[in-house]
Symmetry: C2
Amino acid sequence: MLSKSQIKIIRSLHQKKFRDKEKLFIAEGPKVVSELLCSPFTVRELFSTDVSAISSPDFNVTKISDKELEQMSALSAPNQVLGVFEILQPELKINRLKEKLVLALDDLRDPGNLGTVIRVADWFGINDILCSHNCVDVYNPKVVQSTMGSLARVAVYYCDLESVLQNLSPVYATVLNGKNVYAEKLSDKGVILIGNESHGISAELLSKVTHAQAISIPNFSPKADSLNAAIATSIFCSEFRRRFPLQQKNMNE
Amino acid sequence: MLSKSQIKIIRSLHQKKFRDKEKLFIAEGPKVVSELLCSPFTVRELFSTDVSAISSPDFNVTKISDKELEQMSALSAPNQVLGVFEILQPELKINRLKEKLVLALDDLRDPGNLGTVIRVADWFGINDILCSHNCVDVYNPKVVQSTMGSLARVAVYYCDLESVLQNLSPVYATVLNGKNVYAEKLSDKGVILIGNESHGISAELLSKVTHAQAISIPNFSPKADSLNAAIATSIFCSEFRRRFPLQQKNMNE
């Protein structure tokens, strides 16, 4: 049985200040936890209501009750397994990013959106995401869950976007009235810059990143005025990969 | 002041059985309500904590307190305005659909996904969505809210997909191991068929719609195994509109 203080510490990891203090975060459910176990993340503790749900001889799994899981979980419907992992803050190596297609997020606030963007990036083989410091914390339990395990394969860097983007090119700033992404010349390397859910990319950032090219998804509606940030990101990623495919794994042609 | 029984009736519309009985649904927030007021929907009642939030001389707005709004609202953060509208069940005219690009949803269950799909369809000028009877109810308050007003411009038909799809062609069945949507010949008319969040398109439906062509979004990840249903829908819609654009409204070329 877990002690009250163990449960309290793990529960405290729902909040950023305690994650920062302990340098730990939680992930839940067999799928997400299994994928993080096969990743650069180091697991600190593994709990399960059913020890067969995580079938690895390499890790100790502590059997817990449904009630204990409920007390530690951040989910409305807890799902068998909860893992405590060490926070990673990957080192940003600009020169390495110059060779790749990367995403940059300016002030993305919704945890579900960040998680979905990480999942989409993974699908399209984009392994690096730059986040402004005011983006939601990637170790927020809602973000971790909505990555569906893709956090295992995508590095997320919190940085001063303004200075980092000075050193990367091209930068594609996704806006509402830019050039048609379907028709515009694109590059196989560079940065796709996505803005905040309500306000888009901050005017201050745009004014500093003078080499940015504004691109848009054509709008075919008389009145629809926006797309969700994660939806827009997925459409831009798709269009870049359509033009510059990497090796694919699922095609049946 | 509203009576307890008025509040109770409106609150009951959070549930499908009462929506079906009263033939009414609720929409909230100035943006969503304003867009439904300029649409085929008929408004029955309009409430606002600030009557200037809905600035139309054509409708009576009842001033209510924050507490009354909270009692009627389905939102965790109620937003000034709540409208009660009459449910529309648009008549399905197959011949009219034959001339257009339409979406079909098989067993889509998540309210946020259906709302997002409606918003995406609107953006791409797709005005008709066929839903299997086991899809989530489009008048569920979470669906209505996540359309961000696009429900005003997209008709949603609940129908027997199996028989309706017999009469439409081509049908593009979106699956995980079909042909590359970027490379496949597509048509400017037809049906994009999307499946359930966990199980995809039902095997039974696929076995009956023998003329369906299986298409997929290429996967560039070693391990990512799925995309969210609304994300996948948006990428397919984007690819069809890239090839067969309608009149656009926002381009700056």
